[in-house]
Every structure is written in structure tokens, then in C-alpha cells.
């Protein structure tokens, strides 16, 4: 058996490409949902909402202090356990088997990225000067209005570089989705390479795909950041 078979690598590369949408789907959906959830968590902490802010601190600390892989397993085994309790208590007939793996993955990655994004959003919101809020109040806006119209657009500009990092981290993080039985790029690489005992070929292919995706995203975010900052006056 030769050390590296180009034939195998090239002929099975399309298999890997077929799994790219799954990876992107998980990353994009959990990024967006995580941003909304993260914003709520950040607002809870900034406005020091009594019970919720304490809970938010605990939540963020737990998610940031434990590996993604463990979180996936906790969810995978936790949901059936929770359903069992609910079924016994209320006489429902929920079944975790009917939930598709992709939903598990989306939930886990949303919960995970919300914690990281809440920290970014909190930092960005704190970076906006308080006078902006006062100015918004002074022209008669409500708190919600001024947050949505004045504060968030500015905070977004501050947050973009960090959010981009989180998104790239998420793309790489989806390589763990095999834990909840999602067939993503990594899982395909594993399955196909086990067929022919050709590990290098498939994993190099997977590495190449991840690299291209992340590289393209890095460039994309750099352009986006430039566009968002075009209204800022230059320091002369």
C-alpha cells in the first residue's frame, strides 16, 4: 500500500464537499440564534436584572469553562433524561429519538455560542459612550428605540472583529458534531477513511476544506469591517 494515494484522495473528495452545507448550516444558524440570545444575556447583565443576571454569570462561566464536546454529550444524554422526568410528571409522551441529530447540534452550538457572543456584545455595548443614550433620550426616544436605533448599530461595528473570530471558531467547532451523530465533514472523512484505511487522504481533504472556508471568511469579514467603518471620521 502506497503511503499517499492521490487517486483515493481526489475520487473521494466530492464526498467531503457534500457535507459542507451541513457544517455551514450548523455554524450560520447557531451564530444567528446565538447572537440574539447573547444580546439578551448581555442586556440582562448590563441592566443587572435581579435573578437573571446572576444566572447569566453562572451560565457564561459554565459554558466557557467546559469543553464543547462535553456540552454536546450533556445535551445528548440530558434531553432524554429531562423528557423522562417530564413524561412521568405530566404524563406526556415526549421522545428524544424523534429529534433529529441536526436539531441537537443546533441547540448545543447555539447555547455555546450565545455565551461567547454575550461577552462580545457586552464589551461592545459598554464601549459605546453613555452620552449616546442620553442624546437618544433627549430627542424623545424610548429605551428600546434608542438601543435598537442608536446603540446597536454602533456597537455592531465594535463587535464585528470579535464576532468574526467566534464564527470562525464555530466553523472549526462543528468538527465535533459527530458526538451527536451529525454527518458533517469530519464524520464523512472518518467513515470514508475507515473503508479503505486511508486516513491521511481524507483528513488532509477535510483540513483543506476547513482552511478554504475559514480563509475566505477571514477575507470577507475584513472587507465587511472596512465597509462598516467607512462613516467614521479619520484621525488627522
Amino acid at each position: 500500500m502506497s503511503i499517499f494515494s492521490w487517486d483515493f484522495a481526489i475520487s473521494r473528495f466530492p464526498d467531503l464537499l457534500k457535507a459542507v452545507p451541513v457544517t455551514l448550516l450548523i455554524a450560520v444558524v447557531s451564530m444567528l440564534l446565538g447572537l440574539v440570545l447573547g444580546l439578551l444575556i448581555a442586556l440582562c447583565r448590563i441592566y443587572k436584572v435581579p435573578v437573571l443576571s446572576k444566572f447569566a454569570v453562572l451560565y457564561v462561566s459554565f459554558i466557557r469553562g467546559t469543553p464543547m464536546l462535553v456540552q454536546l454529550y450533556v445535551l445528548l444524554y440530558g434531553v432524554p433524561a429531562l423528557f423522562e422526568v417530564l413524561n412521568n410528571k405530566w404524563g406526556w409522551s415526549l421522545s428524544a429519538d424523534r429529534i433529529s441529530p441536526i436539531i441537537f447540534a443546533l441547540t448545543a452550538y447555539t447555547i455555546n455560542s450565545a455565551a461567547y457572543q454575550s461577552e462580545v456584545v457586552r464589551g461592545a455595548l459598554n464601549a459605546i459612550d453613555m452620552s449616546q443614550m442620553e442624546a437618544a433620550y433627549s430627542v424623545g426616544m424610548t429605551t428600546t428605540q434608542s438601543i435598537i436605533r442608536i446603540i446597536l448599530p454602533q456597537a455592531l461595528v465594535v463587535a464585528v472583529p470579535n464576532l468574526a473570530n467566534i464564527f470562525i471558531g464555530l466553523i472549526k467547532g462543528t468538527s465535533l458534531a459527530f458526538a451527536v451523530k451529525v454527518i458533517d465533514i469530519m464524520a464523512v472523512a472518518k467513515i470514508v477513511s475507515a473503508e479503505g484505511y486511508r486516513f491521511m487522504e481524507m483528513y488532509l481533504g477535510a483540513a483543506l476544506i476547513y482552511w478554504i472556508i475559514c480563509f475566505a471568511l477571514e477575507k470577507l469579514f475584513a472587507v465587511m469591517e472596512k465597509r462598516l467603518r467607512r462613516y467614521e471620521s479619520k484621525m488627522v
Partner: protein, 234 residues
Amino acid sequence: MNGSTIDNLMEIFVKISQKLPITLTIMVLSLFCGLGLGLVIAIIRIRKRPVSYAIATFYLSIMRCTPALVQLFLIFFGLPHLLMLFNIDINSWNKVTFVVIAFSLHMAASLSEVIRSAYLTVGNSQLEAAYSVGMSYFQAIKKIILPQAFAIALPNLGNDCIMLLKDTSLAFTIGIVDIMGEVRIIVGNNYGINEFQVYMVISLIYWVISIAIEKGVSYLDKRLNRSHVSISKC
């Protein structure tokens, strides 16, 4: 929850904790090797010699744009093949070695950026001042730049440590029995205990170590920066 469940959980906790040294060994070894390699990469990137700079940047790009899991598999399956070309047989090596190599390479990339930004923050004027009192480049780095750069880099170093700790949970995928591997065995053997509870136990262990690292770093940060005078006190 009745008494026997708590006993069971305690038993599992003890069992998992016994594998903690392996996790910590992987972590500490990778951290030190990664710091060494990261320092070299950072110096290459700071000095900007054309060819070595391009190589270092390319290396960073690969390491930062591919998942740690892929890197681990590539090292585990690829390195023996690669070295076989030079007639070096490493199939007998301990699996922990492969993990340490993979995570060192992985950490070196992010650590080199931490070191580089810390160096740039300290700034060239410090280097010039050191030259002006007659120090050589390496003396200046050792006595003037590094102590200051370390204080600046510390928070990021702490973050990377925690990242590394969490990444070690991937080591079980190549068959190492660290704390995560032990959990897989417990779940596989099925002691009649809820898998959910087992994973909660291990997340608590990771969480506690993470918090300990965080507290340690912030304590060190306070000590190192106590001589630093804020601009507000000028």
C-alpha cells in the same frame, strides 16, 4: 435523589479524578512546547526576513483555520507515515506523545500571536533604551522586553491555557484514557447510572479547573502589574 445515587456519583467522581494527571500532563507539556515554538515564530514574524516570515505566516494560517481535531488526526495518522520515509519508526511511541505534538503545534500558533502583540505593545523605544545603556539584543530581550511583555500577555495566556485544557478533551478520540476517555469507558460499561449525570460530573471537573486557572492568572496579573501606574494617577 437517594443516598445510593450520591454514593455512585462520588465513586464516579473519584474514578474520573484518578485520570486527571494525564489530562494535566498533556496540558502542561503542550503549553511549554507551544510557548517555546510560539516564541520562535513570534521572533521570526517580528524580524520580518522575507522567506522565514512567509513560512511562519503560512503555518499560522493553516493552524488557525483548521480544527484541532483534524490536526490531531493528521499528526496521529500522518506523522508515522512521514517519518517512515526517513526510516524512522515511531509506531511504538506512546499515544500521549502524538497528542502533545499536535497540541504543541496548535498552541504555538495562537501563543505566537499573543507573544507578538505583547512585544509590539512594549515597543521599540524600550529596546532602543536598552541598547543605549550598552545591552546586547538578547540581554535586552531577556532583561527589559520579556518581563514587560509577559505582564501584558498574561490575560491572553490564561485564556489560551483554558482553551488548551478544553482541547485536551479531544485526546480520547485517538484512544487515550484521560478524564474524557475514562468517562467514555464508564458510559460504555454502563454501570446502570445515568449517562447525563456522568457527563455533568466531568463538566464540573473541567469547570473547576478552568476557574482555578482564571483565578490564578488574575492573582498573578495583580502581582505583576502592581508597579504599573495608571494614567489616571499621573
